[in-house]
Symmetry: C2
Subunit: 133 residues, 2 copies
DNA sequence: CATATAAATAGTAATAGTTACTATTTATAA
DNA sequence: TTATAAATAGTAACTATTACTATTTATATG
């Protein structure tokens, strides 16, 4: 894998990025620094970084792939109101397989995404409830 | 929701269908009975049946929506070799939220899909290993 | 039973996310 | 310095899904 300023920009953007952006968000962000970068380059490099073990793909079930710089397997939470995705610590593969009753094959990974309403949206709700009274 | 033979065919096909087909598989299957049914009709009716609580959407993370006549929330297992999706009993929302450490908001649902190699593919593997010796 | 009407359909076009292709640029080894 | 292979930008293609529209059809009512 040869150096390229495009990949470096993507890598350094993703490094401290904990809001699980989809490719188009990464594209928008990196374009501030490299206005001529193409969306295809963003996709290609994100996948290369995944293959290199520097990123992880997160699929919440809403038809877009998101990217996470924390490569240790972990659960996520997505707010159905604002769409935000957050990390969830706790469940390990061992915990989860211990709960699983079926013997369908050899389990070696998982994807777990919780759904609900995030604290911010809950707060926003009660704010507007109060102010409308 | 008015009767239609198309919806009835989709409903009765899905009723006893436990292999979690995607829309295109449902389309192919129902076309044997109704050769002129259109793919759009299949999608529309599958979603209507989901809205009516007769089906559930299953997202394994491979970019297609699958459909499941068991509407009680449950986990799944997908074989990375053959793509097959199976039901997994055991983990409940209560079990899973008990494991989750973060307080990101109010969790009210989840999607859990295990990944690995199914028993059939494991058997196929050892078969070919034996026969190639 | 006839018929009005609103729901559903088939067929097609459009959309979103993603991948593939290709001519050109660029990192880097010799 | 230069050869070369990897990477890029830009565009086209692809897949899953949704939207649109003219036509058909289930069904409630007179």
């Amino acid at each position: 894998m040869r150096y390229s300023k495009q990949r470096e920009a993507i890598r350094s953007y993703m490094e401290g990025c904990h809001d699980h952006p989809a490719a188009d968000s990464v594209y928008a962000a990196v374009r501030e620094e490299l206005p001529h970068i193409s969306l295809g380059t963003v996709y290609r490099n994100l996948m290369q970084l995944v293959d290199a073990g520097e990123l992880q793909v997160v699929n919440t079930g809403d038809s877009v792939s998101r990217f996470d710089p924390i490569t240790r397997k972990h659960a996520h939470f997505q707010c159905r109101e604002c769409g935000k995705v957050m990390d969830v610590k706790g469940p390990s593969l061992a915990d989860l397989t211990a709960l699983a009753k079926n013997s369908c094959g050899k389990i070696d990974s998982y994807a777990l995404c919780f759904t609900g309403v995030c604290d911010d949206c809950l707060a926003r709700r009660s704010e507007s409830r109060v102010s409308s009274k």
